[in-house]
């Protein structure tokens, strides 16, 4: 490693002020600090020792928490492909097909996003923030495997520029970056992001007879009788029991790359909660909000959608993925601990409301998180005001 350090030190002056590649200073800094933690010591006055944590490690923790979803998602893309064409597939082949579709999306997402980040850091003269390391993987996980790559690039660039840099960069953004990308595609290119787009069929292949790529929520919204029996009987002939409760939980269903498996999301949640990186309050309250709203609709509703058992809501759509990886984004969530409870509850409740009452958008988690992103500062405002009032009250006593 000494060799590497020496090489870095010998070229470093080129990137300093007045050097040959002065403009690339922040890119070089990002690269250098990736390899070596800096030798900067605490200032003269103040805390002389610092916690071993830094933002890089925090972000890597989130990435590791997403890996179960990613690996499962890669397998599932292949798995759905074989289900649709009615053939048996080897596990290895399933992974291979999945990887050939998913990896290019990830590469395009990182390449386009990081390019924007590096450009902005040079223009605005600040260090490259690590935030995009997470967003860059989140974006592919919430997209269908069939999404055109150019759309991935356009959406990522839009999300980073308009969703983040326009507000002042990492830490200042109002909207979750990955969801901004998703929402952009959803509204800009609806034809590629709705309907039966969730399964990769491959060129020149025939789907098995009776096949339908409809998602559970689509089936539920079109159901006229009992949603659960419709779901259970779906897939007869080619994918028996594909929308049974446990298969929904396990995740072997069509959907966005990383968000089909509630189980994998829960593993991710466990990693985030144990490491303290994700707020357990938010994760828990999103699930609670969704469940409570489901129960409430069971009690008062009379359409087939309102009669879906509340626990079914927890395993369908992207609820789990949204609760674990999107709602917990510390920048766009409330910053008061008390506010986090309300934030999560409202996300859960709105998700189910949108699902049940708005057939145009059967998946509500994206919209409800973006909506609550807007309200997060308001929630904080109330919590902070309460704190101020307590202090004022004390003064008069």
């Amino acid at each position: 490693m000494k060799f590497l350090r020496k090489r870095l030190d010998s070229v470093k002056h080129n990137f300093e002020k007045g050097g040959k590649w002065e403009k690339l200073h922040y890119a070089f800094e990002a690269f250098e600090t990736f390899l070596f933690t800096p030798n900067v010591t605490a200032p003269l006055k103040g805390t002389q020792i610092r916690d071993a944590v830094d933002l890089k490690r925090l972000m890597v923790t989130v990435i590791i928490a997403m890996i179960p979803c990613l690996i499962f998602g890669i397998w599932n893309v292949g798995h759905q492909h074989f289900l649709a064409i009615g053939q048996e597939g080897e596990t290895g082949v399933k992974f291979a097909i999945g990887a050939s579709l998913v990896l290019p999306i990830i590469i395009v997402s990182y390449a386009s996003g990081l390019t924007v980040e590096f450009l902005f850091s040079s223009f605005r003269k600040h260090s490259v923030n690590e935030g995009f390391l997470v967003s860059g993987l989140l974006i592919p996980l919430v997209l269908p495997p069939t999404v055109p790559l150019w759309q991935v690039a356009v959406a990522t660039i839009f999300a980073v520029v308009i969703g983040k840099e326009a507000f002042g960069g990492t830490g200042m953004n109002v909207f979750n970056v990955a969801l901004t990308a998703r929402a952009f595609l959803y509204f800009a290119y609806p034809s590629q992001l709705s309907g039966e787009i969730w399964t990769y069929l491959g060129e020149g292949t025939q789907t098995v007879s009776g096949y339908s790529g409809a998602t559970p929520l689509a089936i539920a919204s079109q159901s006229t009788g009992n949603v659960i029996s419709d779901l259970n009987s779906f897939g007869t002939g080619w994918g028996e029991g594909i929308y049974s409760f446990w298969n929904l939980f396990w995740g072997g269903i069509p959907g966005s790359i990383g968000e089909t498996s509630t189980l994998m999301c829960l593993i991710g949640a466990a990693i985030l909660i144990i490491t303290g990186v994700g707020s357990w309050k938010i994760i828990f309250s999103v699930f609670s909000g969704a469940y409570l709203m489901g129960l409430f609709l069971n009690a008062v509703g009379s359409t087939p959608m309102t009669e879906i058992p509340a626990y079914y809501h927890l395993v369908t759509g992207g609820l789990a993925f949204g609760a674990v990886f999107m709602a917990t984004d510390p920048v766009t969530a409330p910053q008061t601990e008390f506010g986090k409870w309300f934030y999560g509850l409202f996300i859960g409740m709105f998700t189910i409301l949108i699902r049940v009452f708005n057939p145009a958008y059967p998946e509500g988690i994206m919209l409800s998180i973006l909506l609550m992103n807007v309200f997060a500062p308001l929630i904080d405002y109330f919590v902070v005001s309460a704190n101020k009032k307590r202090r004022l009250k004390r003064a008069t006593v």
Binding site: I49, R50, L55
Partner: protein, 454 residues
């Protein structure tokens, strides 16, 4: 009378280099230095001595240009050898070459039974004249107490929860009489409640537990439960317009001694601590004393940082520096001026973290004493993670919001969020734990000065 207050939030930083309970007398330090930077709220110091002058312990070295009655006096007798100035002739330090035997300027002395007869004016005059006044710190803002104000209460923290902190029952041993007289004098001076706050779980020296004329409160909990600001918050919180004084046990003892012996005695016991010290233990020295004698042949290697104070709030003073006025601890830590290959990713059990992010394993060893260096362990970033500071400040205060309004210099918001209740030490743990590596204490001090001078 006595309350027990349990504080749940906070964190104890356990480090290698705890002082052994032995006190070594190495005599009077060669030089003693008084630094204006130790006193917040000091307007402009006006030096009244010249290099070459001889002074007694208790003779004035400089005073505040704005409040001339606030005097800063020499802790020892000897010859003024340096008046150190920095940019724009800002006074940095006045250094005195100490005599082998200290000659004290004499002030009026009394028997302990005579104290109750003294007038408030006389006490104030003698405190100001002798320089013992500057022991009194005024909240809000943690500044030198204004003689023209009267506080609503006085707080004394009788324990220190900072990392490697000295044991108060050892460093103040044998001063019971002076401490008790000091309390009597403060009562006479202010006629307000005095709170002596002790630790609930450790054995409390009778000096504190048997004090008369003061309320003894008991606190339990991790650091910063020993910080006097936290204690004030739970007993008699500071609102806009309130004035509270705080004073260290050393200050109380010094005031007691001043009136009982007629001398300004600055001799104190300090702890030499830290993983770089070969024999960490206690030494007798003098306020502002040079640390040279203490550290000679007692340091493991040269790449060390010499800190006056504890690792959370201390100042880097280098190996030939002088103790800061209020400190009773010197910490020597390894400098962290090395690069580390993939240091942000490596799993580590040797670096302390209050976080549990991937690879930070120190939470598995809650009782381990860590060897920590001065590396920043990361680069400055925007505030990202939330909820961490809130678990480290055992007060009904929102530290993240307070710091954000400090950065945006929003005075109204700072007032409403409780800037009057905190000084640097109360939020020092946040600076340690911050993922984004902000200099929290500096940000806070700038905000305190902004609100104070607005």
């Amino acid at each position: 009378m006595s309350k027990i207050i349990k504080l749940r939030k906070g964190f104890d930083i356990k480090m290698k280099g705890k002082p052994a309970p032995t006190v070594v007398d190495i005599g009077i330090p060669e030089t003693v230095s008084l630094k204006p930077s130790d006193f917040n709220g000091l307007y402009i110091p006006k030096v009244v001595v010249n290099v070459g002058d001889t002074v007694q312990a208790g003779s004035v070295l400089f005073h505040d240009k704005k409040f001339e009655q606030i005097k800063f006096t020499s802790p020892v007798s000897g010859e003024v050898v340096e008046v150190l100035r920095g940019d724009k002739r800002k006074l940095l330090a006045v250094t005195v070459l100490a005599d082998k035997k200290i000659e004290y300027k004499s002030f009026e002395k009394f028997h302990s039974s005579e104290i109750h007869k003294l007038s408030k004016e006389f006490i104030q005059q003698q405190l100001l004249e002798s320089g013992a006044w500057v022991n009194i710190v005024q909240r809000p803002f943690g500044i030198i107490a204004d003689p023209d104000t009267s506080p609503k209460s006085i707080f004394i923290s009788a324990f220190d929860t900072s990392p490697l902190a000295p044991d108060y029952s050892l460093i103040y041993f044998g001063n019971d009489q002076y401490f008790h007289s000091g309390i009597d004098i403060l009562t006479k001076l202010t006629n307000c409640p005095i709170h002596v706050n002790t630790h609930a779980s450790s054995q409390v020296s009778p000096m504190f537990s048997q004090v008369k004329n003061a309320r003894v409160n008991r606190f339990s909990g991790k650091h910063p439960s020993g910080c006097v600001g936290v204690q004030i918050h739970h007993i008699d919180p500071i609102n806009k317009g309130d004035v509270v004084w705080t004073i260290s046990p050393f200050g109380v003892i010094q005031i007691g001694k001043l009136f009982l012996t007629g001398q300004l005695d600055h001799s104190k016991i300090v702890a030499l601590t830290g993983s770089q010290v070969i024999n960490p233990q206690y030494y007798s020295t003098i306020t502002g004393g040079s640390i040279k004698k203490l550290i000679s042949e007692n340091i493991k290697n040269k790449n060390s940082r010499f800190i006056s104070g504890n690792p959370l709030t201390g100042t880097n003073i280098s190996d030939n520096g002088h103790l800061n006025f209020f400190d009773n601890q010197i910490t020597v830590l390894p400098e962290g001026n090395q690069h580390e290959f993939l240091g942000w990713m490596k799993p580590t059990l040797s670096k302390l973290s209050i976080h549990r992010a991937i690879g930070l394993l120190s939470f598995l060893a809650p009782n381990k004493e860590f060897v920590l260096n001065t590396n920043m362990n990361g680069e400055p970033r925007a505030f990202v993670l939330s909820g961490v500071f809130e678990n480290l400040v055992p007060m009904d205060i929102l530290p993240t919001h307070l710091l954000k309004s400090a950065l945006s210099e929003d005075i109204d918001e700072l007032e409403e969020l409780g800037i009057y209740e905190v000084i640097e030490e109360d939020l020092a743990l946040c600076e340690f734990a911050d993922v984004s590596k902000h200099n929290v204490q500096k940000i806070l001090r700038e905000a305190l000065d902004l609100v104070r001078t607005s």
